[in-house]
Symmetry: D2
Subunit: 366 residues, 4 copies
């Protein structure tokens, strides 16, 4: 059945559950000749890893990645790359009391309804652990993008209602909230800790900005750049909404305000504002691509909740175990990864156009 | 190149530009034996048609649909359906003054950058007219869905910042704003007319609710139901954001509030609230599926705007012609159509699972 | 459901039945800037058209093609091309006596079994008439290929057991058998006429040779060039086998004979023989790509045949109407078209590789 | 880039090279609730394994499979299955003398041309070792098929020109040639040994018969059952041709002979002959599905061959190492696997049709 693969030319297929032997990903479409070692991937995995700080789950996964195929002498060969991350700190016993009930806000009941059975240890395939495979694939995509001058920057734009008012890039990795605003960061952390103390959880908004995208990424009609980003990002577990550029705010603007005014910056077309988030008609326009993901508060909370048992009885559940009171900081590298996968895919498609059109497409200065 | 097709089993492929001979769609995956006539499709096209009211473009397209294949004796055959809608009221001369410049907020520049050339008459393939093909396909999908007990209701949840506070279904088609709240409707219409008088445009939010979805629609990992909805809906021209259930509002909720409490309603599992928008772990849970699309204000406005000519010079443009001051009301059937396409597709995939699992999947009462 | 689309980047989606309004095709992936008019497509359709000679069906279809989208000022725009061919000479009454039985060798029974109902007029979607859409799409693919120096030559290699011993290109279109060997042509025609007189039919082998293919077409593992050719060509109704290069003959060769000896021809790598049919490891090697399709004798024959009625009774059927005693000559442009579609698709994919690898791939002289 | 995935609903994605850490496969679409253990897969891998007999390569791979995901408590969960087979007996040094030249009949030159670089150890991704992953996936597909009453039988129909005149099923696994005819088996073995002694290789034909296929498998137009089989089987390295039913022999038959006569066998429609190989109009008709693959002689032979060095110079190569003088016997499980993958995929698609049509499709007795 469909579901485990994403991408048209830069294609990723993930596998694995949180309590099986491991998770991993197969990547097709990586151009040949890129230098790539396990350390390039490990670096990104370490940003997603549990146990990074006091405000994330203490589950102690080292998340060591093994490259199973696709490189030779330190270079990509142009053929299929496979990556494997073994699970280590899986305590299935944490889930023993959950096998006979459906946790609120989780996929327990829907997986049971869809498949007629379910792996009740830690959400099975619906586990957030699957995103490790996405981050690993995203690291490979970023290797390709950076060779083409495209870089990504992600951060927590908002947590528990506190919004970062400004973006200081070097601040992001300095605080455990991955907040780019040094004034907002302590407030975010405080609210996360408060929720944790109260056996509760909070949500927020991840923002990713892509710099250096050439005009021409994205395709007409159904494969518009924002549509692919929406697909990619809404496929991450806790995401409930996606917007590009001015997003939902655009709905309250007049057209005369929303329309970004074009001008020539030397040989380059630019716009004075960027309400469009770098995308017009579904195709990148050369400005920064800006996308935001709305992350709901994590479903696993320690306070007692009413729910339904597999038997149909009404029961109360307290979800023990090691959970994140806020997933936003650890989701930053995941949303970056999804953005990277989409851009890498669009870049390959545009390369095909460009080549086929004899260098006409994408070459125009304005 | 990819782009004109959408769907895994219920697959649509659209074609056509606003100023060519016509637009249309090829649909694969329609089950055999459904009664289907041109009138079933026409009914939906009439809701999207220009010239419906004082607050929409007066372009006079009748949008008559012809079924080119896939039915026999009034029934679908299970093979490919093709639909054609000829263009009638195309005044390419309206665009003569636009051929040498890039309109602000339009795809003119990005199409030029991507393809090296462009059809400057009415946005070519990027025209909103392409959505007529989507609505036609959506009508076929809705025929299938309704045979399975699934119905869709769409409306303008918000226009120009005015929000519908309640949903009175029978009110929707009574007012040209397609507003479900009789108190909010006149305010919305007033603001649209004001923007029009001021040669400007306004945006808003379309909401679609699907009733009767069985549990099990949507697939793990990348093809989660919300991911497919996000892809489908963000591929509609003016959409800048998509959210399901509580959406962006969920980011400011605590987990203890966001988590919908499950209970048994006789043999059926239900939840007391529906912040999840009918989707848990990417799979429908049997509650109403709720999705919202953020529509920016239309780019074509009559007031003078600064922009760049193809030559690179700075110029001022006044976009004459027949344009919508607000696209939200006409977008309602389009967003409904995209929702219907996704649900039809997921239903077929689930039928495959269900059949393959010998009726196990999707059959469980709880 | 899948089935009506083919191709990864150069994608075609056909529609239509023999006795509906028409057949057609939607094509995605055509590069921008190619000159393309209806006459370019018509030329190929005329080669497939019924009623060309005494040895083909007299069904009088003019097969006029209309371009519905995708060109502007005589050039392709890079966006979706749609082509429509209206049916004209459909005599559904010819099929009145066939509605209640299953014709031997036809898809009548399998369509009924698959879909639960069927369009009994002229095979519905299984009609050979659908190949007109393929030939139209193939003509567009050939426009792209010829701009890149790739040309195709197809002919009847064998009919009714008579094999063309040599290939004289200019002979092919001179005789109604499309036989490239002036000595074999009259024998082929004689055997076709004999079969026709005896109310029977004969089969044969179509061979297509592609010249000018650069090295690098086709992809590792499942999308090897021969695999895509096999898929494309075996999807044509009457084809029962496909082979490349030495094909089935290779199974009786020793490795020391089969292996083509490489040598340098100036800066170009070539092989002294071409048993590989221009493909090694699934990827074109720069030699001629050679593919053959085994065409069974047409199923529709006038002589009485025993079969089964829809009621289950045993009956005898005589298939009146206008049928081809041998489909091989008219299949030549169809097999050429399928070959062209595959090569165009592989060329686009290779363009993506090439672009992404910064011009490394495909550039090496040896 | 495309290439490593196959299938529409039952989807496999392979990875790995002969001299990297291992090969493997990710499988999507396996229905939930099937019992599946490593031993079910191992059984098929053992049939493909090198070193089985005196007439196969002595490379000593145990080919132990590890299930990385997708099962729980010994049952499939309906989610992604991943399988890993570590490489053990890789002697890269065998290839040291091959790094600077292109072996005749191999993918060395085409990979170099496509990617600009290549993994010269044992063909990299083009290695026949990749088929271990296919066999593993095929074993999973066969688990599903057998639960639905479909079984496969494969054998060497012909080797080095010696044809099996009859099929004695229990004979097949008794002789190392996998020949189903006890009279032909010794002749086949003799010719393989002779070729080996002469530092040469021989080819042959694998035949696979599928029993128990319900009517309705395969889809109209491009996804005809024979087209999918052709794609799948021609993607196996050494295959140069594919045919179904009477295949190339059909080209020399009259229509009156080729057409299989339908009759009712109680409630079941059958045909008196099976020239169609169980497929009419691209859809299974309930008879045995019969497919044949033409395997060329292996390219790796010990006798000296002329070829071209990477430098462009003419050189002579003697390919030492451990190679199969005939790949046909070990290819039997591979062709079975590819057939199984196609049938599993078609069965899922037909389940979707069937479910969507409310049980109409596929239900008709005749």
């Amino acid at each position: 059945m469909p579901g485990s693969s994403f991408g048209r030319l830069f294609t990723v297929t993930t596998f694995g559950e949180s309590h099986g032997p491991g998770v991993g990903v197969v990547i097709d479409g990586v151009p040949p000749g890129l230098s790539l070692g396990a350390e390039d991937i490990q670096k990104e995995l370490d940003r997603r890893r549990p146990g990074q700080s006091a405000i994330t789950t203490p589950r102690a996964e080292k998340d060591r990645v093994e490259i199973l195929s696709g490189t030779f002498d330190g270079l990509t060969t142009g053929t299929t790359i496979a990556l494997l991350i073994r699970n280590e700190d899986k305590r299935s016993s944490d889930y023993d009391n959950l096998r006979d009930l459906y946790r609120p806000g989780h996929a327990d009941w829907t997986y049971r309804a869809k498949f007629g059975l379910r792996d009740w240890r830690g959400s099975g395939r619906a586990s957030g652990r699957e995103t490790a495979a996405r981050v690993a694939a995203g690291a490979v995509a970023r290797r390709f993008l950076s060779a083409r001058g495209i870089t990504l920057l992600g951060y927590s734009r908002e947590i528990a209602g506190v919004r970062a008012a400004r973006v200081v890039p070097e601040e992001i990795e300095r605080n455990p909230a991955r907040c780019p605003d040094p004034d907002a960061a302590p407030k975010m952390i405080e609210l996360i800790e408060k929720a944790k103390a109260e056996q509760d959880s909070v949500g927020g908004i991840v923002e990713v900005v892509a710099d250096g995208c050439p005009p021409g990424l994205g395709d007409p009609v159904f494969d518009k750049l924002e549509a692919l980003l929406g697909h990619a990002i809404l496929s991450v577990g806790a995401v409930r909404g996606v917007e590009v550029g001015a997003g939902f705010e655009a709905t309250r603007m007049r057209g005369s305000v929303y329309n970004d005014e074009p001008y020539m910056d030397g040989p380059r077309m630019r716009t004075r504002t960027n309400h469009a988030g770098g995308i017009a008609g579904g195709i990148s326009n050369g400005m920064q691509v800006v996308v935001r993901a709305a992350m709901r508060p994590p479903a696993s909370i320690a306070r007692p909740q009413k729910t339904v048992a597999v038997s149909g009885e009404s029961v109360t559940v307290e979800i023990a175990g090691r959970h994140d009171p806020c997933i936003v900081p650890r989701a930053v590298p995941v949303i970056e990864a999804m953005t990277a996968l989409v851009l890498a895919d669009c870049l390959l498609v545009q390369d095909a156009y460009h080549g086929a059109a004899g260098g006409r497409a994408g070459d125009v200065a304005h």
